[in-house]
């Protein structure tokens, strides 16, 4: 049965009525009207739905809303803005990474947490941190260039 949940998303608190097992993704998209993250697989395999939960990248497509509790949710839209971009957003534009762009959440949100914790990573470390994320258009080369560029910007 539907219950009331309070969600802290990008610094704002929202109230959502939902089944306890409804994945967070559907609250963010359907109830809060955010056009990110995206549904890619629903089975934790691609990353298109990635958001930060208290700074940790998680897959919102398999995270039941009832488990979120008072954790702070940050989506790609909350990571930065055109006037105050996250270095990865800047790097993504400068390297012209995206083709269809549907996978962007996974790469940027995962890389943002990784670069926050790991300064001056090697290429191998970057690749390992991003392993498992999917990009079907094959923009892997540009993704790696952008993450390296952002890493340099973040010192």
């Amino acid at each position: 049965m539907a219950q009331k949940y309070s969600l802290n998303v990008n610094g704002k608190v929202h109230s959502v009525d939902a089944d306890p097992d409804m994945p967070l993704l559907y609250a963010l998209r359907g109830d809060l009207g955010l056009n990110n993250p995206h549904f890619g697989c629903g089975v934790d395999q691609c990353g298109a739905c990635t958001v930060h939960l208290d700074g940790r990248p998680i897959r919102s497509c398999t995270t039941p809303i009832s488990t979120v509790r008072d954790a702070k949710v940050v989506t790609l839209a909350g990571l930065g803005s055109p006037s105050s971009p996250h270095p990865l957003q800047t790097a993504w534009v400068e390297e012209q990474v995206s083709q269809c762009g549907y996978c962007t959440n996974g790469w940027i949100m995962t890389a943002a947490a990784f670069l926050r914790d790991k300064k001056k990573p090697t290429e191998a470390e970057i690749k390992n941190a991003l392993a498992g994320l999917k990009c079907r258009c094959g923009t892997h080369m540009a993704i790696l260039r952008a993450v390296k560029r952002a890493a340099a910007m973040m010192g």
Binding site: R29, G33, G42, Q96, S98, R136, M141
Partner: protein
């Protein structure tokens, strides 16, 4: 999600362009204040009809002097709209930033064929180029009259027509026509789609005068994507909308015989839509629709399992299957005689599996039927044709249906996006509310139309002097067109077939696209019937570079086998038989840039478990030429291949945007490597079992190449040809040839998964 309050809203474009197209007929100005008013303008008859033979169908000068270019093709992620904007800005002599390319809305563009065969620039851009040139010509003539200087004494700088000798004598485009429509006929060739061509009297500029074409201008939409300011088709919603999900059978070909609606009675608003073999559910909330689709109790008919035992058994099926159509595409000399008298014959057979689009997100579409009109929002590649298909499905005339393209979650041909549009139409008609359909991942991979599986046989005759005197290449395969790519007919959709319209599988394959000259040569293809004649998860359709990767994997692997049999260098063999100078140039450029050292393959100087090799492959595609050198690392113990470096020489004639071209080629190489290394649709007798990213793996970022070097050969004097697919087709052969060079072992079946490589090497 963006809530669209008015079904005619252009959510994306209103971000891209706030100026709007304030355009009305010359001489009959009617005040229209937003781009949303295009429909109103049509209704008032103020605009010339939206037909291919009118300049206003392509170009409008807005009141502020900005330019709207209406384009009947769309960008699939390679920045096509930027390139086309450059071509338009160049011809009009306006700054690039002043042009907005408005893509694939049936209310504002004519049918230029949508995304199709990498023709975005080749035919789509060509049309916008001549339209823009004609617009400039007309504007200069208007200025001549207005300022009293003859047209040949005028030039244009940044959208201002002025006298060459006295720049003070001038008139801006905005002054001349801003906010009003061109009313200028073009010489339309009476074709629609890719073949549409409608030039005016003006000749486009000579390339020597280009200032904007040839520059690496960035895409503006990447910022919109990373700051979440742009909707994907999956983000569109309209008032009163419900979410739909379709339900596919556990055995391909089975149909529902009993559906227990009470099994979902506890899900708020959930409804079943069951028409013939079509089964779907809708609910107000997306999660409820998903739950209802899972929970609905269904009894399915007892269908005979339609497929071979597994993906490996498929090739025997193809070998034994009856030939439905045989076509010899090219033949010269007397092949049979040459083989009879040959000193030596080299032959080989290659195999390529079914492959899935497996787009990043499963197919999605939204259909609204309201007040005798319908609107389709779709990310598919054929907005105009899809509009016709949805109209047919709804039983409405096409002119009552508007198709709006919104960027989707990846598109590489006729994907599940085309089926989603038809499913949304069926559901919307049944429930009387707007329906948004997005498939689940198992449908996105399991039930999308597939690239066809194939076998390819090649043989060559060698005479006593070691010359190749005859060559034959024959493919036997599933047709590439069980469902046609253009989406205009219900029989080309799952929904149509489920509702009883018989499948009309067309016969189409292809032959290698190369210019090797042999005294005796024959290339041909044969198609076989589909495994299941209706609503099949293994139905075929166009997948990026349709049948190019499989054919050129075989043909370019075979050229390498021939070189090895003759003990000559693989580049040397190709150069001996190629006569076309542009083909020769790409082969030489790739070899030179990669530091190719002439020697036969395989190399014999390596011991141990880690070995490396290099391989070359070349192909043409609709005028574009590509040669690729792949360098691979092979771990003999694990069978793991790392395609470490690619050198790509690419000649697509005139280059419009070098930066965009480079990124497009990179995407092709990586996706091509993925298809080569991992991709194979698995199935059992009952159904496709590749239903997610574990059962349909693609290339991981940890396996990405270290380097992709691109040598882009620019030929400004030649018309531009496509780059969206050409560089994908030689990838598999280049990798396979490199594996052979490293190991001496030839792998003739894709994908080169570690297990298969290990087995081949043992």
């Amino acid at each position: 999600m963006t809530k669209i309050e008015k079904s005619a809203a252009f959510s994306r474009r209103s971000i891209l362009k706030t100026g709007g197209a304030f355009v009305v007929s010359i001489g009959s100005p009617i005040g229209l204040d937003t781009l949303l008013g295009i429909n109103a303008a049509l209704a008032q008859g103020a605009k010339p009809p939206l037909v291919p033979g009118e300049l206003s169908s392509y170009i409008a000068i807005n009141a502020d002097g900005s330019v709207s270019a209406f384009f009947g093709k769309m960008d699939m992620g390679q920045g096509l709209h930027v390139a086309v904007g450059q071509m338009v800005a160049e011809e009009l002599d306006v700054p690039f930033g002043r042009v907005t390319v408005i893509m694939c809305d049936t209310a504002s563009s004519v049918n230029q064929g949508g995304a199709s065969g990498s023709t975005g620039i080749q035919t789509g851009g060509r049309q916008l180029r001549v339209a823009a040139a004609e617009a400039r010509r007309v504007l200069v003539e208007m200025a001549a009259e207005k300022i009293g200087v003859s047209a040949d004494q005028l030039t244009v700088t940044d959208g201002v027509v002025h006298s060459k000798s006295d720049p003070a004598k001038k008139a801006s485009y905005a002054d001349l026509i801003g906010g009003r429509y061109f009313n200028v006929p073009l010489e339309w060739n009476k074709q629609i789609g890719n073949q549409l061509y409608a030039p005016g009297k003006a000749k486009p500029k000579p390339p020597s005068e280009y200032k904007i074409v040839g520059q690496s201008i960035n895409r503006e939409d990447i910022a919109l994507k990373v700051f979440c300011r742009q909707d994907f088709v999956t983000d569109i919603s309209v008032p009163n909308m419900v979410h739909g999900r379709t339900i596919r059978p556990p055995v391909a070909g089975a149909v529902p015989v009993k559906v227990d609606e009470s099994s979902i009675a506890d899900i708020p608003g959930a409804k079943v839509v069951w028409e013939k073999a079509f089964l779907g559910v809708v609910a107000d909330k997306e999660w409820d629709a998903i739950k209802a689709a899972h929970k609905l109790k269904i009894e399915w008919s007892n269908a005979a399992p339609p497929f071979p035992e597994n993906a490996s058994a498929l090739y025997d099926h193809i070998r034994k299957a009856p030939v439905r159509m045989r076509k010899v595409e090219k033949e010269n000399g007397n092949l049979d005689e040459a083989f009879r008298t040959a000193t030596r014959v080299v032959e080989a057979e290659y195999e390529w599996p079914f492959q899935s689009h497996a787009s990043m997100g499963p197919g999605c579409a939204l259909v609204e039927v309201k007040d005798g009109q319908a609107t389709l929002w779709s990310g598919s590649q054929k907005t105009h044709y899809a509009r016709d298909g949805v109209a047919a499905m709804l039983g409405m005339p096409p002119e009552k249906v508007r198709g709006i393209w919104v960027s989707g979650p990846g598109a590489y041909g006729r994907s599940d996006a085309g089926d989603a549009a038809m499913d949304a139409a069926v559901l919307a008609k049944a429930v009387g509310r707007p329906v948004r359909v997005q498939y689940m991942r198992d449908e996105g991979t399991g039930w999308d139309p597939k690239g066809p599986a194939s076998i390819h046989r090649a043989r060559a005759a060698i005479d006593a002097a070691g010359n190749v005197v005859a060559y034959e290449f024959a493919s036997k395969a599933f047709s590439r067109l069980d469902v046609f790519s253009n989406e205009s007919k219900p029989h080309d959709s799952l929904a149509g077939q489920l509702m009883g319209v018989p499948l009309k599988s067309g016969d189409a394959f292809n032959v290698p696209s190369e210019t090797y000259e042999f005294a005796n040569k024959r290339t041909l293809w044969e198609t076989i019937p589909p495994l299941l004649d209706r609503a099949s998860p293994l139905r075929t359709a166009h997948l990026r570079d349709p049948v190019g990767p499989q054919i050129h994997f075989a043909s370019e692997s075979f050229m390498d086998e021939l070189a090895a049999a003759l003990r000559i260098d693989p580049v040397e063999l190709r150069l001996r038989h190629l006569k076309d100078p542009r083909d020769i140039a790409v082969v030489k450029a790739a070899a030179e840039k990669s530091g190719w050292v002439s020697r036969p393959s395989p190399r014999r100087d390596q011991t141990g478990d880690s070995v490396t090799g290099r391989g070359i492959a070349y192909a043409q595609r609709n005028g574009t030429r590509v040669a690729i050198v792949a360098e691979v690392d092979v771990d003999r113990r694990s069978g793991k291949i790392w395609a470490r470096k690619f050198t790509v020489a690419h000649d697509c004639g005139q280059i419009i945007n070098p930066g965009g071209l480079k990124l497009t080629i990179e995407g092709n190489i990586v996706q091509g490597t993925s298809r080569t290394m991992w991709e194979e649709v698995q199935f059992d007798r009952k159904n496709v079992t590749s239903i997610d990213w574990l059962t349909y793996p693609i290339l991981d970022i940890t396996e990405a190449p270290e380097t992709i070097d691109v040598v882009a050969i620019n030929r400004p004097e030649l018309a531009p040809t496509g780059a969206g697919e050409a560089s994908m087709r030689p990838v598999a052969a280049a990798i396979g040839n490199a594996i052979f060079d490293a190991t001496g072992v030839r792998i003739r079946r894709v994908p080169f998964s570690p297990d298969r490589v290990k087995q081949a090497l043992s």
